[in-house]
Symmetry: D2
Subunit: 465 residues, 4 copies
């Protein structure tokens, strides 16, 4: 299990054009994408001739109500849920952002992270630009506005050619929707169709939710233009780069009912569990997974190993953002809210505990302790991905490599730290195999250090903003 404190989630984006329930559909789609970001939510829509946006901190259900949606109703809208990957946790950083410039008005919603954002910012500031947020998205807006082209499409394309990094991007004007994916296809973005109108979303589960039909994924390096009237067409941002889809989307980020490359996430995860059982069998009485993200892998492990799968841990679903954390004293006395073991399932048993990844190792250590206190005789930890050893610069906030438990530690040393009876990680080769595509088609940098983009010097954001 990757907790918020260990690995922060991605953002989710959505766009629809030419549907009379555009804002409401966006609202529903954001519910389906909520797992990708719970920090802020926003919807921008075209109202008469201008663009109106509402953004707020918190969940979709906290930001929007009937009245607000009524004010946004239109036939074109984009939406965003955010978990901060860059920029601080401030309302001012909530998306979509709306800007007015020489070509009119624009709304942008962005999932991903630019690795040359800081360099671009310095250059833009040198040219007299002002920044009102700390998000990368504003950099893209400036780049578009600065292009000499008189045509907006040219300007967007030229701007995208300047940025480096990972992105699934949706841009809205009053009569067009742009959908763009980075040249490596690191971040996902899919196209759907709903009664003759087009929608774009970070995951297919958003299409399912609103009753839209999946058409295809936006191609790596593709800039898709969807006019309100007329045919959809594609422009190419860049080519020749190898595809490098983030393998972590399969492992942890995405919702189990989403598909990428026509492979279902739940089934991929189950496969990961199966392979794990094949490669690292153990004699045990029960297999259990860390809810929710590791349930699929755990049931795959159980099936392959022919050991009964049990619900060994219960996750409390009611802990909101405002939840008051137990004090140290109460934690020491056993107050535990997030996860509770089922004693009768683990008492006196040899338990295989399946988790999807280990980042800092603190959660894994905590869970192993929980199981032992609940009477587990043995706890064998099986991780359905390789050791996480390298920082991700494309949208996962583990920039501080020093906190990664697998850096500079052998598997045995990690096992000892966590306190499990045994610990095994799926190998990179087998992980890729379980996903069903070639190593070359993935970004596995966090496991291998093999970064798909040659990293220019990435300067972390200065504090003086």
């Amino acid at each position: 299990m990757v907790t918020l404190g260990e690995l922060r989630e991605e953002c989710g984006v959505f766009g629809v054009i030419g549907h009379r329930d555009a804002a409401l559909l966006t609202y529903y789609a954001l519910y389906a994408l909520q797992h990708r970001g719970q920090e802020s939510a926003g919807i921008a829509s075209v109202r008469r001739d201008w663009i109106e946006a509402r953004r707020g901190m918190g969940l979709v259900s906290e930001v929007f109500d009937d009245e607000i949606l009524g004010e946004l109703e239109s036939d074109t809208a984009i939406g965003h849920v955010r978990y901060s990957t860059s920029g601080e946790s401030l309302l001012v950083n909530a998306q979509p952002i709306v800007v007015r410039f020489k070509h009119g008005s624009l709304a942008l919603a962005h999932n991903g992270n630019l690795i040359n954002a800081h360099l671009l910012k310095e250059r833009l500031e040198g040219e007299g630009s002002i920044f009102q947020t700390t998000s990368d998205t504003e950099v893209i807006a400036h780049l578009i506005a600065r292009q000499p082209w008189s045509d907006l499409e040219e300007a967007v394309l030229a701007a995208l050619k300047e940025i480096r990094g990972a992105y699934g991007l949706v841009i809205m004007t009053k009569d067009r929707l742009f959908a763009a994916r980075d040249p490596h296809g690191i971040r996902p973005l899919v196209l759907g169709r709903l009664n003759g109108t087009f929608v774009v979303a970070s995951e297919t589960c958003a299409l399912e939710t609103i009753g839209a039909e999946f058409v295809r994924e936006i191609e790596p390096g593709e800039l898709l233009v969807i006019p309100k009237e007329g045919e959809v067409y594609s422009l190419q941002i860049d080519k020749g780069e190898r595809e490098a889809f983030c393998v972590f989307e399969y492992i942890y980020f995405a919702r189990p009912d989403s598909d990428f490359r026509n492979r279902n996430v739940h089934l991929v995860r189950k496969n990961l569990g199966r392979f794990l059982a094949e490669d690292y069998p153990v004699i045990a009485d029960v297999v259990t997974g860390v809810p929710d993200s590791s349930i699929s892998a755990a049931s795959g492990y159980a099936e392959e190993a022919k050991i009964p799968y049990q619900m060994g841990l219960i996750k409390n679903r009611y802990l909101g953002r405002t939840f008051i954390q137990p004090t140290q004293r109460l934690r020491e006395r056993g107050v535990r809210l997030k996860l509770n073991p089922i004693k009768q399932v683990v008492w006196g048993k040899r338990v295989v505990l399946v988790d999807d990844s280990i980042v800092r190792g603190t959660t894994a250590k905590h869970i192993v302790q929980l199981l032992r206190l609940a009477g587990a005789k043995e706890v064998h930890l099986r991780i359905s991905s390789p050791p996480y050893r390298f920082p991700c610069y494309y949208g996962i906030d583990t920039s501080q490599a020093s906190e990664l438990v697998a850096v500079g530690r052998s598997v045995e040393e990690i096992r000892e730290m966590i306190g499990a009876d045994s610990l095994e990680f799926l190998s990179v080769k087998r992980m890729v195999e379980a996903c069903g595509f070639s190593y070359d088609s993935f970004c596995t940098a966090c496991f291998t250090g093999d970064y798909p983009v040659s990293l220019e010097k990435r300067v972390s954001l200065p504090n003086d903003f």
Copy 2:
């Protein structure tokens, strides 16, 4: 799956005496009991010499924050989460209720339903009582106040002898906690110990959450008195009645990590699924369960039937109370938020769908349709309980028997209505067997019509309150 519209949940109660973090512990315990009621939450605590209470509509996380808890901090507190079983959805009906009367002040938190509440109310009104809520709990408070006894303990005992129905009740004074369970033990109530102090709760999961040790269940008909200083002792409300624990606690209400009668709820549910597979096998490719309450039974079925268990349906966890329901037009166009099928799991497959119960049948029908639209070749519905045919007067809001799909319909007729390829229910005999106790020890009235309490004429609440 029993949805809110079909079968409303129970309440949850908790009490602690003599612990310096009493209000905070109650807050954590209510998080653990939140599944028993999401309509309102409340905590009452002893402050200096009086009782202070805070109640609000919504989840624990919505009602309480740091500041409010600070104002409630004390060494004695009780709490309540409510899903309306009687009384309307108004703040005035939120519990605990606090009253002042001749013996001082009292706070009451009540899970259950009195079947003679209306008769008692009429009598009390005739004697000059006034009612400010529509909840049964206020009736109990009046009864206590009306007793001629000069001793509070005698008064509480005498009052409880007058009430009929199901209850798990916690009463707090400034120096005592009372915990009472109805003579049949229909509603659950357990006793725990935490560093030398006592706590009571509706379910053991609340004990686990706060690090308390399980001591025993409150006995049917027992009135336990826990003084702040001195020994705990028991009084008997009534005896000679047979035990009749609500079997639906095992089937649906309780959290999987709770135990009743030393049997774990998840394991009982898995057993129910196993028995279902033994009794009603079917040739199929995949078994899936309706999240969250039927997952245990479904995995039991899968194991017994040796058919792979898959996550076939995803539940959206972010739909709050303020969620804007899709319009009819959008629903027709396929907007579906609550549950989404995983196409790749069910496409072209023969699916066994396991659910815990069918009440109105509308949800089951909806899910079968979802699976068919997602490409399931066959859908075999297996219910881990018998047909629900009789109204429950003890706390489950299915008073309108006419809405129960199983009333006046054969299994075949229900199957046809729901649109499944086959439909089977676990029999009463086997359900009881799977639970591991004798038929005589359960209330199975909703399945059998065999009510443990001879029902006096139950007059539904008049509208003129």
Copy 3:
């Protein structure tokens, strides 16, 4: 000026029967009565066959919105704004209270204070009553419910005969409105007519606001019955007691545009100022009043004294309940928000400062300092009422006689404490004369100790509720 900390305000009540905009009219009337209570606001109305109520802490504008009012709309409603005179500041004490009892349902809204509430409560508790609030209003509800009469009207009348103290009371059933005033007429209550339907209110300004015509005051000791259909008629609670209208309504409580006994409050206050100028002239350059309540008296003084009236002090109108008080350090450094002097008005001037009353003396002292710091050469304080020396048991929270600056101090000692160059109070005789009615018709107990009701032993509320 009497500040919240010195003398707490009264409550305001309103009722209307048989008008299709009943809830909305009540809402507007409460705005007009808001000066009588800013702690909580509530409206109860008859919906179909039962009574619905909404109450909340704060101002009318904070408690009610379009949606809530929509839910309350009906043809009969009562409302209440509260400033705690008895009972603590809790939502549970907000009014109207709604109770159900043998005669059906009842809503009560009460302005005033019962002096035998505690004795009645003890008796009722002895008879088995329970109390859920600390307000006197609940006592009245219990008394009504306890009457043996089968007729509600008889029961209300009999209950009112049992209570002692000051009240302006509105009671609503589904087909009747009762309006009652204490036998001495201490608290005000007026009757109005609006297009053939009747309304009752604490002050005439509420009638003006909703476009109703003033009919007459409810008589002291009168219980007026206003059926939805049929003629209005009166019953007599008690007789033979002398009238004793609270003179403080004229001096401070009421809104300047209200009339009592056909005399306008602003004009009475101006008279008080005039008499003050006649009795206590002083050679000065400018007259100023403490906003808002002393402006009328100050302009009366100025006119009579032929000294120019100036706005010498500005009151900040934006300080809400949540306003963050300056720390001691900031206060010492001169941070002053509530009142600001106009330097150019007072600099180098001999100032006559007119205030309506002095209770604790702290505010007066503060204002005199403000004026001196702003450069006033002399500050002559003139109070348009006599020294406040006796506690009020009928609704003004000055129960702690020890805090009254005039207790045990001569006028010269008070002057010294406050730091004014001279200080004069209007005499009781002249105050009464300025109001235009005989001494015998007023309650002047806070000035004279001459209580109109023989006070039974008044036991202050115990702390163990």
Copy 4:
């Protein structure tokens, strides 16, 4: 009386540097300036090395609480209250705005209106700028960022030389405060000193409130630089232009306890009333003013005319932004909340009604009707300013000249429309005389059409933002 619907208010700005309670002082200062804008409020402060801002819709008391202020605490802060003069009513337009650019970070708070904003915006957009708000303040930020100067001070000065219009502007960096006033001095801005540190504010009442001493006004065309360490010094934006202070600040905008040019606003208003009485006497029984802004002028009239001043109209102080307006039906039936006449003051009387200005005429008409319905025998309307005939482009939203009642109407025609028995306006000459300064030193354009700035073509904001 100028109501919100007729003439919208100004903004208020404040800044403090080098005081450890900077945010708290700003909070208190904004309370004192709240009358200048109730739409939104904001505070920006220097935290460690960056600038943090909190802005919200509503009153200061609605936007800020203890916690938020705690997060803003620092030794340097600026604040803003806004009533939209340009830009729509959106949170995004709330100030202060914070931008990051090549020189670091900047916060800006601006009172006033640029008349060449649209031209500048077009130019900036042509150069590739993006706009995220519709406020003029963002234009100023862009202009500063676009300057070629390597020194921030030079850049600010150069930017200010490019703008035309009215402004009182406060700019904050982490170590400096800039305070600038437009070359004509149309908008006010004053300098104060507080224990050795400097503060700037729109009005002196903010200085009084926080205990600061008035130093002097910022000069027209002055850019004052206040470093955190070191001496204060001035730069000149422009010179040679005549001073043109907005006479409406005296007449209506400012708080009565503020001074401009060392003359107190209340006293100026009283003078205006006196002159009105001299020039337009009338035989009458009573003089009354429209609360709150016309009270001073009315009492001046009364004194000069030797006719008693009375409070003839009561203003309801509790109508917040969320107040539900009476329906047309209720208005017709006499529901009136904002203003209520005192019948006993006006019944049968010849009334002089003093108001500060007439813009659309609808309020004046309404008040004359109110007085007649309350029984006034005659209503003589006296306005303490000349007829308002020309649009103001410097910050008062009367851009739609067609709505001004005085455009194309003689005084007699206005009188007829309003329904008064007589109507007189103070002349421009006498108004200026009453204020105590020469005609040349004021902007009186709204009365005379004599605009101090040669207006470039002012294009109203397009709708396509």
